[in-house]
Amino acid sequence: MAEQALSNENTLTEGFAGIAEDWSADKQAFHVPWGKAMMWIFLLSDTFIFSCFLTGYMHVRMNTTVAWPFPSEVFALTVFGAHIPLILIAIMTFILISSSGTMAMAVNFGYRKNRKVTAALMAATALFGLSFVGMQAFEWTKLIEEGVRPWGNPFGAAQFGSAFFMITGFHGLHVSIGVIYLSVVAFKVYRGDFDRADNYEAVEIAGLYWHFVDLVWVFIFAFFYLW
């Protein structure tokens, strides 16, 4: 951003001394708004939550006495007569990553103070998110119909169901909260709140959260579905 460039231009010290100088400046350590700094710190904390979930899951997976179900088979769908492994998850992942794209565009248009396009792109992001949650609900329903429960399932180790519902549930909760959060910010953008304040930071802060939720999904996808 231009602001950042301005404040950093004058005295740039190299190496560790530079880092120390930046950090020991008065007033603020990072040249970002308070809300953005706080969102970053929150996301760092949230990263630890998901890391604990995932390491916990990996630990139980390696320790089970019964064989772990084969995810590619469990999450396969038969579409138009073709048996495709992981097809739904692939679509969900694609949608979520696309939503990151629309979010990034919304942030861009926000900085150009383009009220309507920003609001529309954020609404599109929220809709993508909503469809993700919808597909997740479909996936849950399908597995529950097949007899997968948190305490046991017909495919193998009981911890499969436990970890699945817990991790995707916790992530789905994040997506759902994100959809509500994005909708509120989109509404405020549309109403012109940020034009009056001449400040579209809230869009970028919401975007940070959304990108984080997407990034976490990539890890869940890799460690839970692909492993």
């Binding site: 301005l6 008065d26 007033k27 603020q28």
Partner: protein, 581 residues
């Protein structure tokens, strides 16, 4: 738009009008701090009473039949959990953090006052949930404060029906509350300092609280996750932590889970938690020592780096709590090494405290007495920590009274002494009145000597091999009669220490109304919180303009200066100030 630092921009402060918004639903960090503090102390008194009940049972097992084994375990559990999390964490970060950070860095308030208010109310909810477990069927959980599965959720453990669930829910709510507060503290320290207040000019109290908050934000997630997983094991019947197990003669539904996983998750939180409690104490005690010895803190930079270093190291030592858990012995080597490395920055801090006192003009005020006592108890607890950090020495001492003595010395008595010292030190600022000096001295000597007579003998009990968490010791051959008698003596000391705290409460309450009016800066302290235009500071803290900081917080007894201290907001051109601005 030219870049204007956020701290300099016009801010909107909520201006409370009614009693309700001023003192109850307040967004003022000082009011929230006092709400946090009072709630934490109230719940701490409950934990203190529980510990007296346990001591009565241990000291006079046949005399007091009001405590049954299951209640004993419930008291052990609740005492530990309340003291560590709901008292110390909440008091240091929610209480002192809230009060001191904005004042010490020269901000008008926390960066997000509304969130800050919400943090307190969530904390209150978590305390209410925890306390409600005393009134449900089966009572609170008796699983021990570490809540180890499988026994924590198995039938036969006290409170296995409702108590454990309430405990887990309460912890989750506490973590939400802490996160809301913690984000505020970290962002305020990083982003909302006043002109001239660089990070390396911040008082060590702020450094300690700041680093502890960062630790909390990274460590509490592990507790949250383990609480969620254990709640699932209990409520939904999953088997994250539960192996195949036979209970009451029947095979349970559980199968294939890993109890050690819980221990790893718990201690990944649990060890940083020790430093979440200790680092604010380190920081505050540095400020107390420097102020009351009229001498700058020795090695300020090293003190800062030691705090940060200890904070970082605290994340890679967790399994030293698990030497006897059956994990791979090679881990023991790694974790013993990292544990002993922590002794280096800790020793730096202790040397620096002692060197701060060296040739200082020591004023033995009540806060100073508590601060010096902290050095004693902390060295003591730290040295026994070296015993327990080594695998071979730890194994025979595991689960004995030696462990109890160690951690009560290092994270029970030491931080509590600092809490008392800090309350006495900042009491004039918070209330505008002085405490009663005599009562304060009496409180100090009884508490300090009393706690020593409680915990020093416990080391001896530990060497004898007296196991902890036992309800009664009759008929155990290797425990001599002297140990039983010692237990009675410890109990008497514990009761005296508990009763001594009445002096403290009387002093605080009496002084609030009848105490001598305090000067704005009774200790002649250089740091910023004593330079506010009003005492106690009003909402918004500073007058029309934020203060400007020109120096560090430790300019005491500077040669050539008029006074024996130069406040942080004194300009270099004006080093002989008659008026504090």
């Amino acid at each position: 738009m030219a870049y204007v630092a956020l701290a300099d921009r016009e801010q909107e402060l909520s201006h409370p009008h009614s009693f309700l918004t001023k003192y109850i639903w307040s967004q003022d960090h000082k009011v929230i701090a006092i709400q946090y503090g009072l709630t934490a102390i109230a719940v701490g008194v409950v934990a203190l009473i529980l510990s007296v009940m346990m001591r009565l049972q241990l000291g006079f097992p046949d005399t007091f039949s009001l405590i049954h084994p299951s209640e004993y375990y419930q008291f052990v559990t609740m005492h530990g959990m309340i003291m560590v999390i709901y008292l110390l964490t909440a008091l240091f970060l929610g209480g002192f953090g809230n009060y001191l950070i904005p004042l010490m860095v020269g901000a008008r308030d926390m960066v997000f006052p509304y969130l800050n208010m919400l943090s307190y109310w969530f904390y209150l909810v978590s305390v209410i949930i925890l306390m409600s477990s005393f009134f449900v069927t089966g009572g609170p959980t008796g699983a021990g404060w570490t809540l180890y599965p499988p026994q924590a959720i198995m039938q036969g453990t006290p409170g296995a029906d409702a108590g454990i669930i309430l405990m887990l829910v309460s912890l989750a709510v506490f973590i939400i509350a802490f996160t809301m507060g913690g984000l505020n503290y970290v962002t305020t320290v990083l982003q909302a300092r006043t002109r001239g207040m660089t990070l390396m000019r911040m008082p060590l109290s702020v450094w300690g609280i700041f680093t502890a908050t960062v630790l909390g934000l990274l460590a509490f997630p592990a507790l949250l996750v383990s609480a969620i997983m254990m709640a699932f094991d209990k409520i939904l019947g999953t088997s994250f932590f539960m192996p195949a197990i036979i209970s009451l003669g029947e095979q349970t539904e559980y199968m294939g889970g890993s109890p050690v996983l819980f221990q790893h998750l718990f201690w990944f939180f649990g060890h940083p938690e020790v430093y979440i409690v200790a680092l604010p104490a380190f920081g505050i005690v540095s400020d107390l020592l420097s102020t009351h010895a009229r001498k700058n803190i020795f090695g300020y930079r090293m003190m800062v780096w030691a705090i940060v270093g200890i904070g970082g190291l605290s994340f890679i030592v967790w399994a030293h709590h698990m030497y006897v858990s059956g994990m791979n012995p090679y881990f023991g080597f790694f974790f013993a090494t990292t544990t002993l490395i922590i002794a280096v920055p800790t020793a730096i801090k202790v040397y620096n405290w002692v060197l701060t006192l060296w040739q200082g003009d020591i004023h033995l005020t009540v806060p100073m007495l508590f601060a010096i006592a902290f050095i004693f108890t902390f060295i003591h607890g730290g040295l026994t920590g070296i015993f327990l950090g080594n695998v071979v020495v730890d194994l025979p001492l595991s689960d004995t009274y030696f462990v109890i003595a160690h951690f009560h010395m290092v994270m029970g008595v030491s931080p509590i002494l600092v809490v008392f010292g800090a309350i006495y030190h900042w009491y004039p600022k918070m209330t505008g009145r002085m405490y009663n000096e005599r009562l304060g001295q009496a409180h100090f000597w009884m508490t300090f000597l009393g706690t020593y007579s409680i915990y020093l003998p416990m080391h001896y009990l530990g060497f004898l091999g007296v196991p902890r968490r036992y309800y009664a010791y009759e008929g155990i051959e290797f425990i001599p009669q002297s140990a039983i008698e010692l237990n009675a003596a410890i109990t008497i000391a514990a009761i005296i220490v508990a009763l001594t705290q009445i002096i403290f409460f009387v002093n605080m309450t009496w002084s609030l109304f009848k105490g001598k009016k305090a000067d704005p800066n009774p200790w002649g302290s250089a740091s910023l919180e004593w330079q506010t235009p009003d005492t106690p500071p009003i909402h918004g803290n500073w007058g029309p303009e934020l203060p400007t900081v020109y120096r560090w917080a430790y300019d005491y007894s500077v040669p050539g200066a008029d006074k024996d201290f130069i406040s942080q907001d004194t300009a270099p051109s004006d080093t002989a100030p008659e008026t504090n601005t």
